[in-house]
Amino acid sequence: MEYFSPRTLNETLILMKKWKGKAELVAGGTNVIPDMRARAIKPQALIDISNLKNLSYIKEERKRIRIGGLTTVSELACSKVIQHYVPILSEASNQLGNPLVRNRATIAGNLADASPAADTAVPLLALEAEVLTNQRRVPIDQFFIGPNKTILKKDEIIKEIIFSKPNSNPKMGYFKLGLRNSMAISVVSVAILMEMQEKGCKKARIGLGAVAPTPIRAYRTEEMLVGKEITSELIEACSNEIAKEVQPMTDIRGSAEYRREMASVLLKRLIRKNIERK
């Protein structure tokens, strides 16, 4: 096995081309190292990208926010910009793993690992984020294709995550249901963003984790929420719809039935909380 510690993105891409999928990228290492230990992956080389310091930033622009791929989950959780504009992303970051893991884990690593329960993916779906790689810009709802599978090619690397700042006075909410408060892999997680108008929602976006082979959006439920007065009947109808939209499975953390039920319950709570909030 060989080890490389490139200093620039260009060097990294040359190495990736040369090793053609036989090398593994390592940044925080919080997924790659346990995977190697479990022999789930057997790379012939490690390309340590933790020294690409210029891929670690949170930039606020006039209309959007750009996050460098190597930004750690701790940095995301503590960022004033993220807390101010998109608290759902700081809340989700704050509940990923534990403090020791958050100090190493990166946002690009969390996405590239593509766990169905990936914590940062859920708010990023609700924010309609885009993933910028060295080759293209991909909407995050097209980024995941299966458990631990993404559209990333062997010579492709995540550079940046981009999303628009939500419009004025958006209502947002996030909830992660785990078996405990810390070091929990979510059983169900939900992020919601609602842009309000005089009567009801102008736009609704719902991201869900751990209820399908990948983190998902609940498009049909989102549509139901738009343009109508938010009554308890509508909330009930939305919670019934989301139960049909999710495709959960049973594992050691929870049964498919439980996950489906909880997706409904959490959605109801988050919508209610959002409309109560001034």
Partner: protein, 166 residues
């Protein structure tokens, strides 16, 4: 046969520069314990769930089992022994003893490293903040209350020392 190359790691541990020959997939935990004699860094789960191997890397508390040794190249690592020694203990170590916050002792090194990282950033943590800071460290004797008490008292003592110096 697969060839595993080794690389020379230069690392500053508790203020002293050391060298070791390490392989690419070797964890910082393995190097510290097996090659550099730092057995105060404990191996619990080996996959980031227990926090027994916590060290300060560049001032931040991390799991040494989730860090490649080579990722600490030319960097500063502080282990429990760098925080305080039997001859010159840190207020955290003193208060852990005083509160009986040590039962079997296996989690203690990691607990104190996480607590040190907290107090470095926040001199006046609430009990909730203390709980959050040690949420990556498991104590299977479940003596959490005493651990939280000990960290709280150490923070008070450190604040008093700071005030006395002023």
């Amino acid at each position: 046969m697969k060839l595993i190359k080794t690389y020379t790691l230069e690392i500053n541990i508790n203020g002293e520069w050391k060298k070791a020959e390490v392989s690419p997939d070797e964890t910082l935990l393995y190097t510290l314990r097996e090659k550099l004699g730092h057995t105060e860094v404990k191996e619990g789960c080996g996959k980031g769930d227990c926090g027994a191997c916590a060290v300060l890397l560049d001032g931040k508390a991390v799991n040494a089992c989730l860090t490649l040794a080579l990722q600490a190249h030319k960097q500063k690592v502080i282990t429990l022994k760098g925080i305080g020694t039997p001859e010159n203990p840190h207020p955290l170590q003193e208060s852990f003893v005083r509160h009986g916050a040590i039962q079997c002792g296996f989690c203690t090194a990691g607990m104190i490293v996480s607590a040190k990282a907290l107090l470095d950033e926040n001199a006046r943590p609430t009990r909730e903040e203390i709980k959050k800071a040690i949420s990556g460290n498991l104590c299977r004797c479940t003596g959490y209350k005493k651990i939280i008490d000990a960290i709280e008292e150490a923070s008070q003592k450190l604040r008093r020392t700071m005030n006395d110096k002023r």
